[in-house]
Assembly symmetry: C2
Homo-oligomer: 165 residues x 2
């Protein structure tokens, strides 16, 4: 059984709350540009991308098994050499877990629920949970660093957290 | 009224048919890697990206007005300095129009219908139609070149094409 201090309550994802961890990829109140003879709004350059140490930008597709709430969080990871963006290729919301660093390990995790039609970009070296769709299909385009060297650090918690609605 | 030689019949998007124009961003028969303790398949590095002439990779969101078939194609464009990927942030298929170059202008256009949960990456300098969702919402994450210089060439047809189902 999870003690109260290991419970994390889900919050709606907002740009402000997420700003210290990454970017919200969604339409803004107003597009930056109208293109294609008035038929398309361009919400321009929303993500702070990083592909350090000789890596390059790439696009992959992740196919993740849907999870359910309450969700057990026993591990977080970070990528010291690159940002990682997740774009849902479907209509559904998904779960995003992030934490600030505290002396080389994740501090108190925070859990966010995205609005539909919303992606995220996790900044370089920010602690985050693995990709956690809450419904099928768990398909996402992922824009991250392509390189053959190590770019993953994992932290396993002694006592797991539980994310609740 | 469109004459028969200006009609373009829609075809299903396949990797083979699209290979000369760009990449199909979708799961393959088998993932390249299984990650996240067995919970996620990574279909790795599916797109040939290009951000030439001092530009950089960026992620934007496009919000395009849905179109209907028959669709009138009166213009195609290309980006000489960069690739452009379109990732649907929804469940729906969309229309993709591309053409090989013939003496500096688009040759015979081809029209493809994507499968759901499928994105595309149009290679650098390939002629293509503007973003054409067929249903709402017309929301797409776009991974393309960010730069302040000109990276757009348009070609307007003397006689429009019509894309039919």
């Amino acid at each position: 059984m999870t003690t109260a201090d290991r419970q994390i309550r889900l919050k709606p994802l907002t740009k402000t709350a997420f700003a210290e961890f990454g970017d919200v990829l969604a339409v803004k109140a107003k597009p930056d540009q109208i293109i294609n003879q008035g038929m398309c709004g361009r919400h321009h350059n929303l993500a702070k991308l990083a592909f350090a140490g000789g890596g390059q930008a790439g696009i992959s597709v992740f196919d993740a098994t849907p999870r359910a709430l309450p969700y057990t969080l026993d591990m977080m990871e970070r990528h010291p050499k690159g940002s990682q963006a997740f774009v849902p290729m479907h209509d559904a919301s998904f779960l995003v877990i992030v934490a600030a660093d505290e002396n080389g390990q994740p501090g108190q995790p925070q859990a966010f629920l995205t609005a539909p039609h919303t992606g995220i970009n996790i900044h370089k070296n920010i602690w985050h949970g693995v990709l956690t769709p809450l419904s099928a299909p768990g398909l996402f385009a992922v824009i991250d660093r392509i390189g053959n060297d190590t770019n993953l650090e994992e932290h396993w918690f002694d006592e797991a957290y539980t994310v609740i609605a």
